[in-house]
Assembly symmetry: C2
Homo-oligomer: 119 residues x 2
DNA sequence: TTCAAGATGTAGAGAATCTACACCATTGAA
DNA sequence: TTCAATGGTGTAGATTCTCTACATCTTGAA
């Protein structure tokens, strides 16, 4: 079902670096849909962003670690449908709150940026 | 957790850190209106963003240096209306092009982020 | 048996921002 | 006359997040 990263990003121009600071928000939002393992989070973000974002393990996994340390997510080992062992992450109450806070702040900021760009 | 020190405690929440990577775009846009000195750029961005962004010299001046090195702006010393010496910056052709490129990429990215946040 | 895909993880580098200073000139008020 | 506030540029060091590049293990299929 999930498209492979290469296919996603090939037809569209170039995938730039992720806007700094947004990764956590995107992960929180993705996990708000349903618990998922890291690899799944990456695929989903790439898919929904239509290849604009490429999520590599070297960014994702440290982010998940930070978030677990911050008690925004918790994790447990399970076995996937494909019979592979994977660490499933799910939001905590604190994480849900963080999601709403960060989303609100994000909105404020892009509105401010829009105001400047449209001056 | 950065302790929030001082006078910024207004009636409206608090201005968070600037989204990484957007400072250059905002500076370019500001200078696209008219040549300006650094301090003026800072004031204008704070004003138009209605206090969402605080632009401190330690971020702004290094950014302007980078941009001058990249030939996105050039500068010259002048005297302000207040009879103060200040370095006026203006866009180069390359800077104008960078502004349009960066703005386009910014749009793509916030659209992608919106798609994820609204999933 | 070998190899691609699924999955997690670490190390080190690089970029952009922040805080916290330091410095100088001009103006206005005490 | 002094002195503080305002206007203005600049640097140093820390922090934070992302990136590239690797390493490792398992499973399923050719």
């Amino acid at each position: 079902m999930p498209a492979k990263p290469d296919e996603v990003s090939r037809n569209t121009p170039i995938s730039r670096d992720m806007v700094q600071g947004t990764m956590e928000m995107l992960i929180l939002k993705t996990l708000d849909l349903e618990p998922m393992h890291g690899y799944g989070v990456a695929l989903r973000i790439e898919q929904i962003s239509q290849g604009v974002f490429r999520v590599n393990p070297g960014s994702l996994l440290p982010a998940l670690s930070r978030m677990e340390r911050a008690d925004h997510v918790r994790s447990e080992w399970r076995v996937t449908e494909n019979n592979r062992r994977a660490k499933y992450y799910m939001l905590t109450a604190k994480g849900r709150k963080a999601l709403s806070t960060e989303t609100r702040q994000w909105q404020r900021q892009i509105e401010a940026i829009s105001r400047i760009l449209e001056a």
